[in-house]
């Protein structure tokens, strides 16, 4: 029996043009289609695999505006059991620290959590710090950037993979927090039965005040401020290598310099 919380986030679709709002440099949520972040689908998949092997319950926790309903429903239609949705205008412009605080309180409303699973980094802000900050706030061991996860009894083992350190093996006793990378699994499609069932699954709606965080969150209280933003510069011309019999070596050297091999 493993009681799992999965953190999910609704983000602008990576296929659409993503912008910051002109007024306050926060994410312009109206400018793009909103989807459940793909890395979260993998986090949900991993939770479902663990649940199917060990029994248990999967609760989705989401901080986001009302329309994040769609992302939550997708998580539920994949097979998660219930959801906690923190939605509050006061959270507009929340930074990584505030979001982590809200998540910590929201996770606290779920009883007897054994494992928290997050994506390693959302595709919009790409801060990648929320899992670690949340683990600190909750006093849990953090096993981040997992490409493989095994839960056995009261222990979780992961293969951690980063560009700098390669593969490392981590182990912790539960409860613990893990974040997963894109190699962890291939997420399932929601089945139609899942889609039909999702409509009936409980979604608890909470505000910042419900979590005792009234007046502490939002853009005005953020520890970091976005002063300006600029569009991505156009792609530069590629690097040309002339093959003088050593083309293969040069290509390999280039790939190695980019840490691709």
């Amino acid at each position: 029996m493993t009681n799992i919380v999965v953190l999910v986030k609704q983000v602008p679709d990576t296929y659409s043009e993503r912008k910051l709002a002109a007024g306050d440099n926060t994410l312009d949520r109206e400018a793009a289609d909103a989807v459940l972040d793909e890395i979260n689908e993998r986090a949900i998949e991993e939770a479902l695999v663990i649940k199917e092997a060990n029994e248990g319950e999967v609760t989705v926790v989401c901080v986001g505006p009302d329309r994040a309903n769609d992302a939550i429903r997708k998580a539920l239609s994949m097979g998660a059991d219930k959801a906690v949705h923190v939605s509050d205008e006061a959270l507009h412009g929340a930074d990584i620290l505030q979001t982590s605080k809200v998540l910590a309180k929201a996770v606290g409303t779920v009883e007897g959590v054994d494992l928290i699973i997050a994506g390693n980094e959302a595709s919009d802000g790409r801060g990648g710090a929320v899992p670690a900050v949340l683990a600190e706030l909750l006093g849990l061991p953090q096993l981040t950037h997992a490409r493989k996860v095994t839960v056995e009894g009261g222990t979780v083992k992961v293969e951690r993979e980063t560009a700098d350190e390669g593969i490392t093996h981590l182990e912790a006793s539960l409860p613990a927090l893990i974040s997963v990378n894109e190699k962890i699994n291939e997420p399932r499609y929601p089945s139609f039965k899942g889609i039909m069932a999702a409509k009936k699954k409980p979604v608890e709606k909470l505000t910042a005040a419900d979590l005792g965080l009234d007046g502490e969150v939002g853009l005005a209280n953020a520890a970091s401020t976005v002063l300006e933003s600029a569009p991505k510069p156009p792609r530069e011309a590629g690097q040309r290598v002339d093959d003088e019999g050593d083309g293969g070596v040069k290509v390999a050297e280039y790939l190695a310099s980019q840490k691709l091999i």
Partner: protein, 387 residues
């Protein structure tokens, strides 16, 4: 905000959350797992056997039926799924139509509790495929003239006859076969492997190649009384199933039309002649505009009929309206799109000729365009011109 060229009238904004979720799921599945392979399937004239299992896992088979392992979605959700499948290929939608709307619906609507419990859960899961035997070599638009006979022999039934153009015939674990009896037309569940029953694949098709078509032969096929569908006597039985399938078709072809329009729009904006894109020529823009109108009208009509069906108000004559109007529109769009793509349009590299060829079949199966026109004529005038 300018209208979306791919959903110009914002038809999909009318969908419920459930219907959007179904759309997104089928579209993603179709783009990831069907679109990359469909040209190969079409060329080889075959479908991989594991496809049934995948469709079953998603819940595509009998999705709008309730209980017995079926998902129990709205009719509109079923239509949307057909639309997204047929945007890839009419053969794939036909697979789902025949399984869900013909074979499973027949058992669900007219079968005994034992028949439902035996067949529907494994058919919903894609573990058992069904086919539907109504049409015969000499009996198409006039199914009442069928020659397949079922006669009583003690407590058994003995069936003799031939069924033609049967989708999924060689894949099927169970065939729903309609036959003349002394009491009128009755439906029978014929399990594959029953002595005297065989299915032969029909090859050399130039249309609907990503679909399996067969001839069913029944020679002294002996079946117990429990094989009869108890609920149906007369043509009402098979026609009720066809009505279900036609509903899926009128949605599906809106998807095929959309795919052809999208291919033509994309091609015309990248292909340059006389120093500018084809899309910049007035004659091309006329074609784009005509296709845009046709695709959006087809979608609107499908959604309207779907809402009527969910309200249990949809009449068979209205289904004929939708089948006739949307298939004609889709075929016209496919042909027009082909002209925009020029020679490239006839290859399997692009979807339009495949769709155009498929739609030539869709035009005549499940009620020819002529029969649907006569149905509408009869409904409007009160005079039947063919019966």
């Amino acid at each position: 905000m300018a209208p979306d060229p791919h959903d110009f009238l914002a038809v999909d904004a009318q969908l419920s959350a459930e219907e959007r979720d179904v759309r997104d799921t089928v579209r993603k599945f179709a783009n990831e797992e069907l679109a990359p392979n469909v040209a190969d399937w079409y060329e080889s004239g075959d479908l991989p056997t594991e496809l049934a299992k995948r469709f079953g896992e998603l819940g595509l088979f009998g999705m709008h039926l309730s209980g017995y392992g079926c998902a129990g979605t709205s009719a509109v959700s079923y239509g949307i799924a057909c639309r997204e499948l047929e945007a890839i290929d009419s053969g794939l939608r036909s697979f789902v139509s025949v399984q869900g709307s013909l074979a499973m619906y027949a058992i669900h609507r007219w079968g005994s509790e034992e028949q439902r419990t035996e067949w529907l859960p494994k058919m919903a899961a894609g573990e058992a495929i069904g086919c539907f035997g109504l049409t015969e070599p000499d009996s198409g638009s006039d199914p009442g003239s069928m020659r397949t006979r079922a006669r009583k022999d003690g407590s058994d039934w003995v069936l003799d006859g031939t069924k033609m153009w049967i989708t999924n015939g060689t894949l099927a674990a169970v065939a729903v076969v309609w036959a003349q009896t002394e009491d009128g037309i009755r439906g029978f569940l014929v399990p594959a492997g029953t002595p005297g029953f065989s299915a032969r694949a029909i090859h050399s098709k130039l249309s609907l190649r990503a679909s399996v078509t067969a001839e069913l032969v029944l020679e002294g096929v002996r079946l117990p009384e429990s094989a009869v569908l108890p609920g149906a006597t007369g043509l009402r039985g098979p026609l009720s199933c066809l009505n279900e399938a036609r509903f899926g078709i009128l949605w599906g072809v809106a998807g095929a039309a959309r795919a052809c329009y999208a291919a033509a729009l994309d091609y015309s904006s990248t292909r340059e002649q006389f120093g500018r894109p084809l899309a910049g020529f007035q004659l091309t823009q006329r074609k784009i505009a005509d296709m845009l109108v046709a695709v959006n009208q087809a979608n609107l009509l499908a959604l309207h009929l779907g809402r009527l069906k969910d309200a249990e108000q949809l009449q068979p004559q209205q289904v004929s309206f939708g089948k006739m109007a949307n298939v004609s529109a889709a075929l016209e769009v496919a042909r027009t799109a082909r002209t925009v793509l020029g020679a490239n349009g006839i290859t399997l590299e692009y979807p339009v000729m495949r769709h155009a060829a498929n739609l030539e079949t869709v035009l005549t199966y499940e009620g020819t365009e002529e029969v649907h026109a006569l149905t509408l004529g009869a409904a409007a005038t009160g005079i039947s011109a063919f019966r």
